[in-house]
């Protein structure tokens, strides 16, 4: 049971509707409960104070990745941001930066979906065997652990909000998509490295990354996209010099 405390926490919530000229911040006072997270407070606001507040959420347990927002300027899953960490307030809730706002805390993720698709984050087989699976593809524990960490991504996009490169380059493929590309490139069942090469090895792929590392710092699933990009840079640099110095060893 939640512990009711006779105190209120002030929320400053970013509000924007498509027909408004300017966004604004609206003040809400929410009762403090020790076991409440920011998402609980948003639900309280929507249920009891202002039904027009718009935001995304689903699982409220750090799995679905839909409730990301800037909480006091830092990208967080609102379901994992306990009010107790922000006392005495106020708590400012804004949509994730580096994305266009559609309404209140809801951002447009169309650009990300295109980038995600461009790295082909699925297992590619040269023999097309994924269309007609007849047998298992066995993998040792070591082969599995090589990519397992990068497969934990829930596409919450906190890493894009934290990324300084995403703040100035709309074309940058970005942390989550590059980590997923690396996840499949490292998978022994996959044969799609060549197909992903052009997207990953251009400037807007891994090379725009300035290795600030904030993507890994904010990741709620400890995916370490910065590490994935560094790994890809190493193989990308070897590939570059091989094409430059020994072009006869390269297929395309």
């Amino acid at each position: 049971m939640s512990t009711a405390i006779d105190t209120m926490v002030r929320f400053e919530v970013f509000r924007y509707q498509p027909d408004w000229d300017e966004p604004t911040y609206q003040i809400y006072d929410v009762p403090y409960r020790e076991d409440w997270v920011v998402l609980d407070a948003l639900n309280y606001i929507k249920d009891t104070i202002d039904g027009s507040l718009t935001y995304r959420w689903s699982c409220r347990m750090g799995v679905c990745g839909s409730c990301g927002a800037m909480v006091n300027g830092y990208p967080k899953l609102t379901c994992a941001a306990f009010l107790s960490e922000y006392l005495p307030g106020p708590i400012r809730v804004e949509p994730l930066v580096n994305f266009n706002v559609e309404r209140d805390l809801v951002t447009s993720i169309d650009g990300f979906m295109e980038k995600l698709e461009s790295v082909q984050p699925w297992i590619i087989r040269e023999d097309g065997a994924t269309d007609d699976l007849k047998s298992e593809y066995l993998q040792t524990p070591a082969q599995h652990s090589a990519y397992q960490q990068f497969s934990m991504c829930i596409n919450c996009l906190l890493c894009y909000a934290a990324c300084p490169v995403s703040s100035h380059s709309e074309e940058f493929i970005g942390p989550a998509a590059l980590a997923l590309a690396q996840r499949y490139n490292l998978d022994t069942r996959d044969e799609g490295v060549e197909q992903r090469r052009d997207v990953i090895l251009k400037d807007e792929g891994i090379w725009e990354c300035s290795f600030v590392g904030e993507c890994s710092a904010v990741c709620p699933k400890h995916v370490d996209p910065a590490g994935a990009i560094q790994q890809a840079k190493m193989t990308g640099a070897i590939d570059y010099y091989r094409r430059l110095l020994m072009p006869w060893t390269v297929k395309s």
Binding site: G205, S210, V212, A237
Partner: protein, 120 residues
Amino acid sequence: MRGRSHEPIWWSAFGLGGITAALFVPVMIFVVGIGGAAGWDAVTGALAHGEDGIGALFRHAPVRAVLGLILALVTVHAAHRIRHTLIDLHVHAPPLVLIVASYGAAAVVSALIAIVLALF
């Protein structure tokens, strides 16, 4: 390959400079800055056959060559970091201008280091 980036050239120089900075610079400071300056026999004696202090150390051409190489690589490392930091801070300049300015500055600093070492 279409749209291939030439950033690996700068990135690998940056990586080499980073490894140099992490592995050799602390040792260099310890040996030259502390040991040499304090006139430790183990440092000055071994290389200078009993001559005095840090000056003796630098009269050996190989010492100056290695020192110059280490400092040049660290300078390139710094230039790359500064270039990307400027981009992250939204300094709007054509990419080529930033490349010429940052690595050009590193080349000038490296050349000055080489001159100082050559005249020592």
